[in-house]
């Protein structure tokens, strides 16, 4: 047993030395991983689109309508850049993509309110962009809600009830929404942690493939590996990537000021089988790559499908069953789900036992396939 362990240790050190000597692999396994983690979050630094320019169409031109325009402008979500008297003028601005939305105040706005009739505000938003539309809609709704509540409370007070009571009567069954884990709704808080896990997987897969390509070029075929060598290689990759993961979940989170609640140690314990599964998957695929560049060429495109099938951005419940199950073959699917639940939501290992066990299972399966590839040592067939 100690003999095997010593062999594994020697093999791991050999592999680390091989990485240091292969400029191509070193670039990907060390520098690319860190580089991506440093630049990818940059566009999301501001987290949200604020003060989106919209146009107000004031068909009423009354004191109340002007008050509403000021209230809309005062919201964080939108800024009223233009006040125009006709729809046609607003349309020009929206179609030129200068204004991203419009609020239309009807002619009878003030009069209807005074008479106690319901008035209808038209809200137009550019819905081809999800974030723009939802920010425009919520900004205007917030301003009109404030105005609306003020009006009704004044009415109720006029009919003799006190303010607190008036407030309650208006909405006898209110809804209180409590956003957890990303309370500000920031886009960066949402996407960056998941992408960091994906960066670990993609650079590691490509890096292992590059190492294999380099060897294939110099030896002309895959060398026959012993069990200890196979395990030693994986150990080398996992140890480099645990350091990456630790840096990602501390430095990147600090630099981009991302909220988190879980412990670093727990997330690293969880990521151990994730990195092991990725390593063995990489070794399995390494049989495919004959040149140093092959892995880059063949695997670069996989990031996009990988993030979308993980169920992180588009919910997995909406996908066909074969894809929901198939998605578990990629370590990123369970890796993202579990790492986020631990680090963002402070879940315990027991609470993420499903993805944790699935990743161990995946490690076992890919270990067998990797060993099959490495121990057969196929002859050159180019």
């Amino acid at each position: 047993m100690t003999g095997l362990l010593r062999e594994i240790g020697t093999a791991a050190l050999d592999e680390l030395r091989a990485i240091r000597q292969d400029k191509a692999a070193l670039t990907i396994l060390v520098f690319a991983a860190l580089f991506y983690a440093a630049i990818y979050p940059t566009p999301y630094k501001n987290q949200l689109a604020r003060e989106i320019p919209i146009v107000a169409v004031d068909l009423d031109g009354s004191a109340t309508s002007r008050r509403l325009v000021r209230m809309v402008d005062a919201t964080e979500q939108v800024a009223v850049g233009w006040v125009v008297p006709t729809m046609a003028e607003a349309e020009v601005l929206v179609h030129a993509e200068v204004a991203r939305g419009a609020v239309v105040i009807p002619e009878t706005f003030e009069r209807s309110i005074q008479r106690g009739e319901q008035v209808v505000l038209g809200v137009f938003g550019d819905a081809s962009y999800f974030m723009i539309y939802s920010q425009v809609a919520s900004g205007i709704a917030q301003a009109s809600g404030t105005l609306s509540a003020g009006i009704e409370i004044r009415r109720l007070q006029a009919s003799g009830s006190d303010e607190a009571r008036a407030r309650k009567t208006r909405d006898p069954l209110p809804i209180a929404l409590h956003p957890l884990y990303n309370p500000s709704g920031g886009y960066g808080n949402y996407i960056i942690p998941a992408v960091l896990v994906l960066i670990l997987q993609q650079t590691l897969l490509i890096g292992i493939g590059t190492l294999a390509g380099t060897r294939h070029e110099s030896h002309g075929s895959i060398k026959k590996h012993s069990l200890a060598q196979c395990l030693g290689k994986a150990l080398a990759y996992v140890s480099i990537y645990l350091v990456h993961a630790a840096l990602f979940f501390t430095v990147v989170f600090r630099v981009f000021d991302l909220p988190h609640r879980g412990s670093l140690l727990r997330v690293l314990v969880f990521l151990f089988p994730f990195l092991l599964a990725v390593s063995f998957l990489g070794l399995t695929l390494s049989g495919l790559f004959r040149r140093r560049e092959s892995a880059l060429e063949g695997l670069m495109f996989t990031s996009l499908p990988a993030i979308f099938i993980s169920g992180f951005s588009f919910p997995k419940e909406a996908m066909p069953l074969w894809l929901q199950w198939g998605a578990h073959l990629l370590p990123s699917t369970d890796g993202i789900a579990g790492a986020l639940r631990i680090f963002q939501m402070d879940a315990s290992l027991r609470e993420v036992q499903v993805p944790f066990l699935l990743l161990w299972g995946l490690s076992a399966v890919y270990f067998l396939t990797a060993w099959a590839v490495l121990s057969w040592g196929r002859p050159q067939a180019d």
Binding site: A32, Y40, T42, P43, K45, N46, L48, H95, E97, G116, Q118, V119, V120, V123, G125, A127, S128, Y129, M131, I132, S144, L147, S148, I151, E152, K168, D171, P172, L173, P174, I175, A176, L177, H178, P179, L180, P183, G185, Y190, I191, P193, E293, L296, G298, M300, T302, L304, P305, F308, I309, F314, P315, E317, A318, M319, R341, Q344, D346, A347, V354
Partner: protein, 366 residues
Amino acid sequence: MALILPLAGWFILLNVFKDRVPRNLPVAVIDLDSSALSRRVVRAIDATPAAEVVLRAPDETGAEGILRRGEAYAVVVLAKGLERQALRGEAMPVSVFYNAQWMLPGSLITRDLRAAVGAISSDLDASGQVARGASRERAKALADPIRIELHPLFNPALDYAAFLLLALIPTLFQVFVLVMAVQVVGIEFREGTADLWLASAGGSVLRAVAGKLLPYALWFTVLEIGLTEFTLGWLGLAVEGSRATLYGGMALYTLAYQGIGLLLIAFHANLRLALSLAGVIAGPAFALAGVSYPLFAMPLAGRIWAALLPLSHYLAVQTQQTTTGATLAVSAPRLLALLAFSVVLPLLCLPRLSRLMRDASYWMRS
């Protein structure tokens, strides 16, 4: 590489968004009131398109555990006394704790829950007003003096899956176009055959490059147009603008990534380095393209980077031509940018390439 992988990638993405608008996302309910009203709320939640009640917990202690185990995206708590208080006109809120880390399910569920609970609330309020002698119309106006009518422009069904899917086709292809361009040109230097390549084109670097790259440009453009047409048909979307502008833009877009590929090789004639740089360009491109996160909300560095990506220009043209029905004039600046990448950039690279093709000291690097 030029057929199977793009088709496989597209097929997977098509299936991810198969259902278009996610429905029946799991929601847990903790009903501590067990009253007619609380049951009405639960039924209303279950009846919304976005939410499905999959779990009922007996008390609040396990609420967060449900979210942390991923069993539901939201937990609704109906407190004891809910019905009694509501009927007295003393509001007691329906509390919804939702997982905002998973953004889309969270926003879909809260939107529907807000509407469902709001409808019950204004119904109770109107009933109260009617009981006090107001007419139903009048009661409605009193309950909500200003009503908002939402008009989502250009995407009335708020079908973001359709948008995302259409945008992902060119995003997927940029990787293939770029990698293929770098590969077919770079391999001549790597294998040390650049001089033979140049000779076979009669010594003209323009003819050599065009002869190698244009067939791929044609192939990828045709494939992209085919997949876009199929996807549009499958989504049931019409092209509001002009197909000529859209597909003209797509051809320029394809050439633009070949232009970038050429630049990467012209830089150092090193295939592996060029491919690594291609990864840096193509990897984060979708994040910077302004589809999921608007460009004007990015810091300056992000906006500059986005302006240097043909993808962001092409996706703007695609949105303008497929959904907003913009004129050619609106898309013109974007098309000009694409023209610069697809024509000017390669021409600028040619002198340097021609020098590299004659200088054997740049060959055989990896």
